[in-house]
Symmetry: C2
Subunit: 373 residues, 2 copies
C-alpha cells in the first residue's frame, strides 16, 4: 500500500492509497476509541457506508447522509451540521469523518475547522478529484452565491484514506474530471510526470489499479511538497501554493457563469488549463507546440477544452475580478514560464489575455485553440 506523509510540523498527517482500504481494520483502529461523527452523501452511502459503519461500529445518530451535489457546500448546510454536532454533544476531542468527494470533504472540513475552534477530521475521498487534490493541503470551505469557496479555513485532516476501489462506482464523467487535476500536476511542475500520464492515459481511463495508485501518489506528493513550503497561500513572496491554481482562475469564472453543478469542477479545470497554456504561448513563454501538446492530452482524456459556448470575454473579466489571488486590485494568474514550471504573476501583457479570451469565446473558433501558433 503506497503511503505518503504530508509534512507540516505539528499538523503532519499520513495519506494511505490503495485498493480495499475501507475494509482494512488496521487503518481504522486508531479511530475506534474516539467519539466520531461521519458525514457522507446519498450516492456514496449507497456503495460505501455499510463497510465503514461496520469498521467503526457507528450508530445512526452519529451519521449524516446529505443529498449529493455542490449546492450542499452552503452557509445554511454548514449551520445545520454544526447544530447536529452540538445537539449530539460532540466534545472538542471528538473527530469528524468526511466520506465522499470534494463537496463532502470541503464542507465537513470547514465544520471541523470552526466547531469549538477546531476539531480533528479524517478525509475518506471517494472520487479521483478528491483523492489527487482536495484531500491534500487543508483547504476547506463553502460556496457563496457571489463566488466559489469564498468562505472557508485552512484546516489539516489527521488522516487521509484513499481507497481506489471506490472509483469503480464513480460515474465515468467524474473519473475524467479528476484526470484534469492529474494533468495539471504534470503541466505545472514535472514534465516527467506529464510524459508518464501521456504513456499511461489508457490505463488510467480503464482504472488499472497500479496506474491509478501511482497517479494519485505522484499528484499527492507534488501537492504535499508545495503545501509544505507555503501552507496558507501567502499573498506576498513566492506565493508558491498558488501554483496549484494553474487553470483555476479561468475555471472558477466558468463555474460561476455556469452555476455550480452544471460543469464539474474538473471539467472547468480542463478548459482552464487549455486557456492558461494558450495564454502562456501567446506571451512567448512556452512554445505553441507545448500548448498544443497539453491541449491534445486534455482532449484525449475526454475533458472539455473550451468554456461554455455562451460565455463572453466580459463574463470572464467580471468573474475573475473577485478571484482570491487579486492583490492590490491587480489580477494575478498562474501561467507557464516553461512547460513543467508554473509561476504566479500579475506581470503579463493584458492584450494577450484579451486575445486568449477572445479566441476561446469565439463562436466560430477552430477546433484547435492554439491554431494561432
Amino acid at each position: 500500500m503506497p503511503s505518503l506523509q504530508v509534512d507540516l510540523g505539528q499538523r503532519s498527517y499520513p495519506i494511505h492509497i490503495g485498493a480495499g482500504l475501507l475494509s482494512a481494520p488496521a487503518l481504522w483502529q486508531p479511530l475506534r476509541a474516539r467519539a466520531l461523527r461521519l458525514v457522507t452523501d446519498e450516492h456514496v452511502a449507497r456503495h460505501h457506508l455499510d463497510v465503514v459503519r461496520a469498521q467503526l461500529d457507528l450508530d445512526a445518530s452519529s451519521i449524516r447522509v446529505l443529498p449529493p451535489g455542490e449546492t450542499q457546500k452552503s452557509w445554511e448546510q454548514a449551520g445545520k451540521l454544526l447544530d447536529w454536532l452540538l445537539q449530539t454533544r460532540l466534545a472538542r476531542d471528538g473527530c469528524l469523518i468526511a466520506l465522499g468527494g470534494g463537496v463532502i470533504g470541503d464542507l465537513v472540513g470547514f465544520c471541523a475547522a470552526i466547531y469549538q475552534r477546531g476539531v480533528d477530521f479524517v478525509q475518506v475521498p471517494t472520487t479521483l478529484l478528491s483523492q489527487v487534490d482536495s484531500s491534500v493541503g487543508g483547504k476547506t470551505g463553502i460556496n457563496h452565491p457571489l463566488g466559489k469557496n469564498m468562505i472557508g479555513a485552512f484546516h489539516q485532516p489527521i488522516l487521509v484514506l484513499a481507497d481506489t476501489d471506490t472509483l469503480k462506482t464513480l460515474p465515468r464523467r467524474e473519473l475524467i474530471a479528476g484526470l484534469a487535476e492529474v494533468i495539471k500536476y504534470g503541466m505545472l511542475g514535472d514534465t516527467g510526470f506529464l510524459d508518464w500520464i501521456e504513456a499511461h492515459l489508457n490505463e488510467l481511463l480503464a482504472l488499472d489499479p497500479a496506474a491509478t495508485a501511482e497517479a494519485i501518489r505522484r499528484s499527492c506528493a507534488m501537492k504535499a511538497a508545495i503545501v509544505g513550503r507555503d501552507e496558507r497561500e501567502s499573498l506576498t513572496g513566492g506565493s508558491e501554493r498558488a501554483l496549484l491554481n494553474l487553470g483555476h482562475t479561468f475555471a472558477h469564472a466558468i463555474e460561476t457563469h455556469a452555476g455550480y453543478g452544471d460543469w464539474l469542477h474538473g471539467e472547468a479545470v480542463g478548459a482552464g488549463l487549455c486557456m492558461a497554456a494558450d495564454l502562456s504561448a501567446r506571451l512567448g513563454w512556452i512554445g505553441a507546440a507545448d500548448a498544443r501538446r497539453c491541449i491534445a492530452l486534455i482532449e484525449r482524456s475526454g475533458l472539455p477544452t473550451r468554456p461554455p459556448a455562451d460565455m463572453t470575454p466580459q463574463d470572464f473579466m467580471r468573474n475573475m475580478a473577485l478571484d482570491k489571488k487579486v492583490a492590490a486590485g491587480r489580477l494575478r494568474l498562474v501561467l507557464l514560464r516553461a512547460l513543467g514550471r508554473a509561476v504566479v504573476t500579475a506581470d503579463f501583457d493584458p492584450a494577450r489575455l484579451a486575445e486568449t479570451l477572445e479566441h476561446f469565446c469565439s463562436a466560430a473558433h477552430h477546433s484547435c485553440p492554439t491554431s494561432h501558433g
Copy 2:
C-alpha cells in the same frame, strides 16, 4: 504610550495602550493605503465612529453599524457580514476593523478568519474587558443556542489599539465587569499583581489613566506570554492556554443558564472566580484565607460573588458537560494549586465540587461563601 508585542512568529502583532490613541494619525498610517471594512455597534458608533472614520477616510459603504448586544454573535449575523464583504468585493488583501467590545471583536474576528480563508483584521477594543482580555490571543467566535463560543476559529489580529479614553463613555457596570478579568490574572499567575490591584482598586474604579493603562498592560502581557506558549489551547500536554479560563467553566454555565445578555460575561466570571477559589480551598490546595481574600476583592469591585439565585447544582453539571475543556468525557477545571498558580485538572474529588455547587446554590447561604474555612 505603553506598547507590547505579542510574540507568535509570523503571526506576531503589537498592542498599543494609552489615552487618545483613536485620534493619533501615526497609528492609523499603515492602514490608510488598504481596502478597509469597519464594523461597530450603535453605542460605540455614537461616541467613537466619527474620529476613526476621519482618520481612515472611510465612506459609508465600508462601515456596518450593528445593534448592540451578545445576540449579534450569531451564525445569522456572521452570514450577513460575509454577504456584505462579498457584495462590496473586498479582496483577500483587504482588512477588517473591529471597533467595539468583545462581541464586535469576536464576531468580526470570526468573519476575518473565514472570509476567503482568512483576511487581516485590526482590533480596536472599547471596553475594559476587551482591552485586557479578548483582544489578545486570537480567539474569535460566535454563540449557539446550545453554548457560548461553540463556533469559532483562532485568528490573530495584525494590530490592537486600546484607547483608555473610550472607557470614559462605558457604563459603570461594564467597567466593573472588566475588572473581573484583571483580578483573574492576579489570581492565576501573579500574586504581586494581585497585591497591586488590591492597592489600586479605587484608582481603577475612578478610571485613573495611569493605573488603568498599567492594569491593561500587565493583563495583556500575562495573556500574551501564555498564548505564546500554547496558541491553540492544546488538549494534551500542559494545556497552558486553558489556565486563562480560571473561573470560566462556572461562568459559562451561568451565562448559558441566564441567557446571553442578562449577566455580563465579566459578572459571570466574578462569580466563577469565587467558585474556583472556594473549590480550590475545599480541596486543600489554597488556604481558606486565600479564597476569602480573592472573594473580598471581587466583592469590593462591585462584582457578583454568587450565581443567579435560581440556579441549582444540576444546572451547573448539565451546562458544564459541554465545556470545551471536557476531554475523554471527564470534566476538567482550572483551579488554584496555590494562590497565583493555576492548573488545568480533571484530578479532583468530585465530592468537593458537589459541595461548592451546593454551597453557592444554597438559598440560605452565608454572606461569605467560604465560611466553611
